[in-house]
């Protein structure tokens, strides 16, 4: 990387996350001005306008791609209309050791004096929690499931190529056309549509104005700049920002700057989950790159520099501060923008191009937490592409992850997307498949599969809280057969999914009614055409996900009971339950038997793997295909972010030998240490799950560096991946690190400040993880050479 990039990258790394009160103040003022006087979509549009008009403009020294969400890098706003933090929350956020944000005296005061008095009791979070049933609240508080929209807005969506082909002026034309053709005679919803479209129009103009303000600022800076080179750059910035995003970009630079303004718009309008994401960046940029390289107006070095500066912008925007359960399920600064490379083109041909390789180079050089990156690997992509990625993975900081493009397309088509929309899609967040630019695929919360087993084994009672959360499916001591256990468990899963979905419907309605996102709606087909907001079902495709957690722990627990209680009768159910209740206190032998003399998922042995398939199916059938109130369908994902640690902390001892409070298995990976047959065993077991019925699964493998130290190792790793994908595996990622290194880092965090590891669908600084998660990663099986 060149000197400029080096400096800006270092500044980004050194910038300290802090809260800024700027956004909260502008939003509060806008609400005071408009609330009750205009329709809600218009109020949201006018609030967005106020933000774009009044936010401080920040152009950092030396940068070419401009714009920050806050007044400076890593100054992170709050979103009081969604979650109005208490002063105590601020103190926790300020003082906590991990994922902290510094809070200045001024921020404390303004929050206390201006923000809290207006928002207290009125935020979506307040509204949401006060509208949930006692049943839902009990399950939420006991850790049966989490709720994504409790502090953050639905997002989970990704840009397609529209913004590069059509400037905001083009979108305004589309909006005007729809406004003109509204049916004021027969359409009962005509007013809602009109207001939504007007709000979108305001937002489109507002973002153009925001860019213009950057142009003005750059011109001002140019005037007083003494360095001729920098002066020219500032003038160029001014030129770019006065042309886009109103007009479609003409150059590589303009394309990147266009996306960046759009990104800032989305993450300022609301704190959408997964931020926002450029998606298939190599596909979008290639036409600009090709044209400019041919015309001689851009060199490869310049393209790399611009990309690297673009990367730094992502790293400057940490995920907004979370608290409580939402922090526990996702404790990271990473905001999950996850850039896709490779994959297929709309006609089904190989999508790998020159920009793909430039992006891989950028990933390798930048080594930043944000943006996250992945490759979309199709059977049609060349091996060179996979190997280039594998060489970066071998360096051991967890990026990029690898997705099966062909499986992703098949998953999307199974859900009813057209083949073209599917081919233009990819994966975002951790591992979630989506039709980019056309789908709202909302993750609604994690589901604690293992907790449901615990409740089943206690006849509907959650032992930790003593509450009767589940159905009375019978005293397990009276179960005669393994099938009795399965029947009871199935009923409990259905029961809790029912509670979760009812809650979701109310939450969705609250967002649809009170928290439209007219700016985001411009970007997602067919919100303009339908005159309907993204949060109200305006997207072409609407999917809701409930993400299953702990399938490894769950499988091994069922296998242990099947073998020892029902088949070999090594112990009675009564003995087992007593051991679990006592957290295996004086029955260490039982625990050891469960750990060591029981078939485990992850070893390519059908005994356990067949159980996994059955349990997966039970979950799949309970969720898949159920209608959402927005006219979409429910689907499942199998991923945890950091929730397997939180869910573990609220779940008692399990029949697989896991002690109470310990983390559960992560993603669809085997229980930490349970896989003893090497990586092919894990891959074969994992592939027995029917990935194509999900919208994403997450498999993590830990390799020692020795396994991939040379080209032969890279070659074999590549074959491992290709084989997994032939078996329809959805995603795989590697941690290339020794447990010893991790242990040293735990003891001496100062020396290992830069150590990045793969957590679950994203990478993070090892020393920023909480201790339970650090230990969980250390405990994962290390596949080594022998």
């Amino acid at each position: 990387m060149n000197e400029r990039v080096k400096i800006l990258r270092q500044r980004s790394l050194d910038a300290e996350p802090a809260l800024t009160i700027e956004r909260a103040l502008i939003v509060t003022e806008a609400y005071k001005k408009y609330n009750g006087k205009v329709s809600i979509p218009m109020m949201r549009g006018l609030t967005f306008q106020a933000l774009m008009e009044n936010k401080e403009i920040c152009i950092n020294d030396g940068e070419l791609i401009v714009g920050e969400r806050g007044p400076k890098p890593k100054a992170t706003p709050t979103y009081p209309e969604l979650c109005c933090h208490t002063i105590e929350d601020f103190e926790v956020i300020d003082k906590r050791q991990k994922t902290y944000f510094k809070v200045s005296q001024e921020t404390y005061e303004k929050h206390r004096d201006i923000v809290i008095p207006y928002w207290e009791g009125k935020s979506i979070r307040d509204l949401l929690l006060s509208n949930m049933t006692q049943e839902w609240l009990d399950c939420y508080n006991s850790g049966v499931f989490t709720e994504f929209m409790e502090q953050r807005a639905p997002g989970h969506t990704v840009a397609d190529d529209k913004i590069y082909k059509k400037g905001m002026l083009g979108f305004i034309k589309d909006i005007d056309k729809e406004l003109k053709s509204l049916d004021y005679h027969n359409d009962l919803n005509v007013f809602d549509k009109q207001e939504e479209l007007k709000a979108m129009r305001i937002c489109a103009e507002a973002i153009m104005n925001y860019a213009k303000r950057h142009a003005e600022k750059a011109a001002q800076l140019a005037e007083v700049e003494s360095n001729a080179k920098r002066k020219a750059e500032l003038l160029k910035i001014a030129e770019v920002c006065s042309y886009i995003p109103g007009n479609a970009p003409r150059s590589f630079w303009e394309a990147l700057q266009t996306y960046w303004f759009i990104h800032l718009g989305v993450i300022t309008e609301l704190n959408t989950w997964d931020a926002f994401c450029p998606g298939r960046l190599d596909q979008h940029l290639y036409p600009f790159y090709k044209k400019e390289i041919e015309a001689g107006t851009l060199t490869e070095e310049q393209a790399v520099e611009l990309l690297e500066l673009f990367w730094i912008k992502f790293n400057n925007q940490p995920a907004p501060p979370k608290v409580g359960v939402t922090l526990a399920e996702s404790s990271t600064y990473t905001d999950f923008a996850n850039i896709n490379s490779g994959g297929l083109k709309i006609d089904g041909s190989d999508g790998v191009n020159d920009v793909t390789y430039l992006i891989l180079k950028v990933i390798d050089e930048m080594r930043l937490l944000q943006p996250s990156s992945n490759i979309q690997l199709s059977k049609k992509n060349p091996d060179k592409f996979l190997k280039q990625a594998a060489r970066i993975i071998a360096k051991g900081w967890g990026q990029p992850s690898i997705f099966n493009a062909d499986a992703v397309i098949e998953e999307l088509m199974r859900q009813g997307k057209s083949i073209e929309d599917a081919r233009l899609g990819g994966t975002s967040g951790c591992v979630e498949a989506g039709a980019f630019g056309k789908e709202a695929y909302i993750l609604t919360g994690y589901f604690n599969l293992v907790k449901v087993l615990e409740i089943t084994l206690n006849n509907g009672i959650d032992p930790r809280t003593g509450k009767q959360l589940g159905l009375q499916t019978g005293d397990p001591k009276a179960f005669q057969t393994y099938e009795d256990l399965i029947v009871a468990y199935t009923k409990q899963v259905q029961h809790f999914i029912e509670i979760k979905i009812r809650g979701n419907s109310i939450i969705e309605t609250l967002y649809a009614k009170y928290m439209p996102a007219p700016f985001l709606s411009i970007l997602v087909d067919d919100c303009i055409k339908k005159g309907k907001d993204y949060n109200a079902g305006g997207a072409r495709y609407n999917s809701n996900y409930i993400q299953g957690v702990g399938i490894g722990t769950l499988t091994d627990s069922f296998a242990a009971m099947k073998l020892h209680v029902f088949e070999k009768k090594t112990m009675s159910m009564e003995e087992l339950l007593a051991a679990l209740n006592a957290d295996y206190g004086d029955t260490e032998r039982i625990r050891q038997l469960m750990l060591n003399k029981t078939p485990k998922y992850g070893n390519d042995e059908d005994y356990a793997d067949d159980i996994m398939k059955e349990l997966f199916d039970i979950y799949y059938k309970a969720v898949n295909g159920r209608a959402t109130i927005k006219g979409g369908a429910y689907r499942i994902d199998m991923l945890p972010t950091t929730c397997h640690v939180y869910f573990g902390s609220v779940t008692g001892a399990t029949p697989d030998g896991r002690k109470a409070g310990m983390p559960q298995s992560e993603g669809i990976s085997p229980v930490q240490g349970a896989d003893s047959k090497g990586p092919t065993g894990v891959i074969k077991s994992a592939s027995k799950m029917d990935h194509l019925k999900t919208g994403g699964t997450l498999l993590n493998l830990k390799f020692t560096p020795g396994l991939v130290q040379d080209e032969e190792g890279i070659d074999k790793l590549s074959h491992l991946v290709r084989s997994y994908f032939k078996l329809d595996g959805h995603h795989i990622q590697f941690n290339v690190v020794n447990a010893d290194t991790l242990k040293k880092a735990q003891k001496d965090p100062e020396r290992y400040k830069d150590l990045i590891v793969r957590v679950a669908g994203y990478s993070d600084y090892f020393c920023d993880l909480n201790e339970a998660l650090q230990n969980e990663i250390i405990a994962r099986t290390e596949h080594k050479e022998f």
Binding site: R589, L595, T680, S723
Partner: protein, 299 residues
């Protein structure tokens, strides 16, 4: 047909081309002091003990019909009384007693090998039969190889070369690649360090070469034992005069197996031997290069 094996290693990436599964047969006529798989030497089942795992539950003592076990901090076994029935290993909840060696049929083995066929196909890998010494369980090895060939697996045999020549000839019909160990050229020294003469070994190598088989030579480098220039010169000469040798791998001595010796209650004789440094290995590579031979380190 049944045989005695002690391990099946999947994602085996150093025992021939591609991703492979290696089957380790138990029992070896050689007794090399540097052997890193001491459990491979005996033709009998053996018990291995992991004292650090034992929680002292005493269940193994209860199931031992010979009274061969006593508990004293950990479990101790009297080799005189033990009949290797394996009941203790079966009952041990922490696997602190494990039985090295199990009887397995070629049919079962092929089923296990078949599990990774997708990886062999993708990587042009296959299966490797190693040991112990595959030639010592000749019929079993032959049957296994025939079945593997029925499955169209790529097959490799990793051998010390010490075994019946006619058995080797028969096996070679179903073997795509031989991984052939050359330890020492001097017959007296060979006998001193491995327990057997190398005469048959060298003959067998010649036979395989005459048959036009593909051969990779593997040479352990054990400092002070087989690193003399004389030995290297003789080895180089052998390689130069033997057609069919495609690759030569030098395997630097390592002492990772010390722990295994303890588990088997066997004595490790090379306690004082240092692991060869990178520069030392580079020198040996250079010596081979002077003879016009390219060698790889590791593999």
């Amino acid at each position: 047909m049944k045989g005695l094996i002690f391990n099946i290693q999947k994602y085996s990436i150093h025992d021939g081309p591609g991703i492979r599964t290696t089957i380790f047969l138990k029992g070896c006529p050689l007794s090399c002091s540097w052997c890193h798989n001491p459990e491979s030497q005996s033709f009998q089942k053996e018990l291995m003990q992991f004292h650090n795992r034992c929680i002292g539950c005493g269940e193994c003592i209860k199931v031992c019909s010979e009274g061969a076990l006593i508990h004293k901090n950990s479990i101790y076994r009297s080799p005189e009384l033990c009949t290797m029935c394996g009941k203790c290993a079966e009952t041990c909840c922490t696997n602190s007693i494990e039985l090295a060696g199990r009887e397995v049929s070629t049919l079962e083995l092929v089923k296990e090998l078949e599990k990774d066929v997708i990886f062999y196909d993708s990587s042009k890998g296959g299966i490797t039969i190693s040991g112990g010494e595959p030639l010592s369980q000749g019929e079993f090895t032959l049957d296994l190889l025939q079945r593997c060939k029925d499955m169209e697996f790529h097959t490799a045999v990793d051998t010390s070369g010490f075994g019946n020549t006619s058995v080797l000839m028969e096996i070679s019909k179903y073997t795509d690649l031989f991984l052939f160990d050359i330890k020492l050229m001097d017959e007296v020294l060979h006998k001193q360090y491995t327990g057997v003469s190398n005469e048959i070994i060298l003959q067998n190598l010649k036979q395989l070469s005459n048959l036009g088989k593909r051969i990779w030579i593997r040479i352990p480098i054990v400092p002070g034992i087989n690193d003399a220039e004389e030995n290297i010169a003789a080895t180089a000469k052998l390689i130069k005069t033997t057609p069919g040798i495609e690759q030569i791998n030098l395997l630097p001595y390592h002492n990772a197996a010390m722990e295994k010796y303890k588990r088997l209650h066997k004595e490790y004789q090379l306690n004082d031997l240092k692991i060869p440094a990178m520069e030392y290995m580079d020198k040996i590579v250079e010596l081979y290069r002077l003879y016009g031979i390219n060698v790889l380190i590791g593999g």
